[in-house]
């Protein structure tokens, strides 16, 4: 799975470089983000702006990660659009995750 990370202020921004997030990438996604948490990142912004398809297993992996983060930090979803955004709404996960239109909005909103 293509994933690149960089820091922006106190945030670790993880950019998903895949267009499809399905069962084939879900375990890898979970592993790599869990690694970021292990390495000490607490405030993570996940940039989904390149993703055009997501299924239940990848969304499930994000849910597990959010549980890992718990109250100790943030896992903010940025740039979800089209059917990816629809999937969050349909499953009510838009009420569970903090959602932002873009990485900048995510970082800005929390700073403000």
């Amino acid at each position: 799975m293509k994933l690149s990370t960089h820091t922006q202020g106190e945030f670790t921004v993880a950019v998903i470089g895949e267009t499809r997030m399905d069962a084939a990438v879900a375990p890898e996604l979970k592993h790599q983000i869990a690694q970021l948490l292990d390495d000490g990142a607490t405030r993570i912004v996940l940039d989904l702006s390149q993703v055009t398809f997501m299924d239940s297993s990848s969304l499930g992996a994000l849910v597990s990660l959010l549980k890992m983060v718990g109250n100790r930090g943030d896992l903010i979803i940025a740039g979800a659009k089209g059917i990816v955004a629809e999937l969050f709404k349909l499953t009510r996960m838009d009420r569970v995750f903090r959602m932002a239109d873009s990485v900048d909005a995510a970082v800005g909103a929390v700073v403000a």
């Binding site: 239940s56 297993s57 999937l87 009510r92």
Partner: protein, 398 residues
């Protein structure tokens, strides 16, 4: 008068609905649009109807059969072939389809009306026929006046002072439009029209036959009629038509079922705990459907037959087709659920099996598999966990 209903189109703009259902079979509140057309024809004493079919022909042919149940005679002219892989449609175009029928039997031996099977209309066909006879042309096009800014969606027609058609424009920009009279795709013809249609080739009424008539100097006319014309040419159109029907905005549309509460219609054998379900009209709920306590339905909403709406589900302004289970965690806002797809009017389509959200939206007859149940529990846990967190936060704030 005899009739021909055009039903051979592929309906590409109504995908994915038309992947399994040809456009004339798309229902407005349970009744296929074409059935309303057949009923209208019968009301105006048209009893012999030939339907040209192609794409998904059996769906139409098995539903209407020979027409007896609707009090008319219906015959089909199938355009296509049987191949190793099954039926393969090859549509001949609207005029080509007419010509094929005429060459087969000479069916059109008197004045006849041709109309599309995919728009709901309440045209006074008898009045249109009277005007056609007064004009005396070989063809009469039924026209409608539309606001000037909408002409770009239609074929525009210019008439002279005798109502003769002198010019056509296909989807002109408003500033170039020669009038605001549009072609509704409803035509009355005399059998002499076949002199102008070549045989054995694809030929279209609007873009080929009429220009040929103009070219030949043949007199034909346009008559402006005032009637309701509800097109279902696209997915948003289907939803708009259903909304209009629910809101009572389609004149003369008979609501199915019984009105059991103000603005709430149901079929029979429904299971609803009225005291514990929140429903805002207008809503239609189909027969053998169960609405569980603690669910929320905000109209305009149409829920098909044999559906289950589970405790906690929130449905607002949706069209849900038969045999759909809506899970308790689902929030459906402005969606069409059809054939395993969750369609937004803006064109986004979520396929429930591809996205593996059958735990959320499913066919009521399908049994959930272990991975569905795993996901359901995972998301459910998360939602309740989050709910508790919220409560704690609220307490802290207080």
């Amino acid at each position: 008068m005899k009739a021909m209903i055009l039903a051979a189109g592929k309906g590409t703009r109504v995908r994915p609905i038309t992947n399994e259902m040809p456009k004339p079979m798309i229902p407005i509140l349970r009744k296929p649009v074409m059935e309303s057309i057949v009923e209208l024809l019968r009301t105006h004493d048209v009893q012999e109807i030939v339907v040209n079919t192609s794409h998904l022909a059996p769906v139409i042919e098995n539903y209407f059969r020979d027409g007896t149940q609707l009090g008319v005679h219906i015959a089909y002219s199938y355009e296509g072939y049987m191949t190793e892989d099954g039926l393969e449609g090859k549509a001949l175009g609207s005029a080509g389809g007419m010509k094929r029928i005429q060459e087969f039997s000479g069916f059109f031996d008197e004045t006849f009306i041709v109309l599309c099977g995919d728009a709901w209309i309440d045209l006074d066909i008898s009045a249109a026929l009277r005007q056609h006879r007064e004009k005396g042309g070989v063809a009469t096009i039924i026209l409608q006046e539309v606001p000037h800014e909408e002409v770009h969606k239609y074929g525009v027609v210019k008439l002279d002072e005798r109502q003769r058609i002198v010019q056509f424009q296909e989807k002109p920009k408003p500033q170039y439009a020669v009038s605001n009279l549009i072609n509704t795709g409803i035509y009355i013809f005399e059998p002499e029209i076949f002199d102008y249609i070549p045989s054995g080739v694809e030929y279209d009424i609007g873009s080929q036959l009429f220009p040929a008539l103009v070219g030949a100097g043949e007199e034909f006319f346009g008559i402006k009629m005032d009637f309701q014309w509800v097109d279902i040419g696209s997915v948003p159109d289907v939803w708009a038509a259903t909304r209009m029907a629910l809101q009572g905005k389609i004149h003369g549309f008979d609501m199915p079922g019984k009105e059991v509460r103000p603005g709430i219609w149901t079929g029979i054998n429904v299971s609803i705990n009225w005291d514990r379900v929140k429903i805002k009209p207008p809503v239609y709920i189909g027969s053998s459907t169960k609405i569980e306590a603690g669910s929320k339905i905000m109209g305009p909403c149409m829920i098909g037959a044999n559906c289950v709406v589970e405790t906690g589900a929130e449905i607002s302004e949706c069209l849900i087709s038969d045999y759909t289970r809506i899970g308790g965690m689902a929030t459906l806002d402005n969606k069409l659920i059809f054939g395993g797809e969750c369609i937004s009017p803006d064109g986004n389509v979520i396929n429930v099996s591809e996205t593996q959200i059958r735990w959320l939206v499913n066919d009521t007859r399908r049994v959930l598999n272990p991975s569905d149940i795993h996901d359901m529990l995972l998301f459910n846990n998360m939602l309740s966990f989050y709910g508790e967190l919220e409560l704690e936060r609220e307490k802290e704030m207080a």
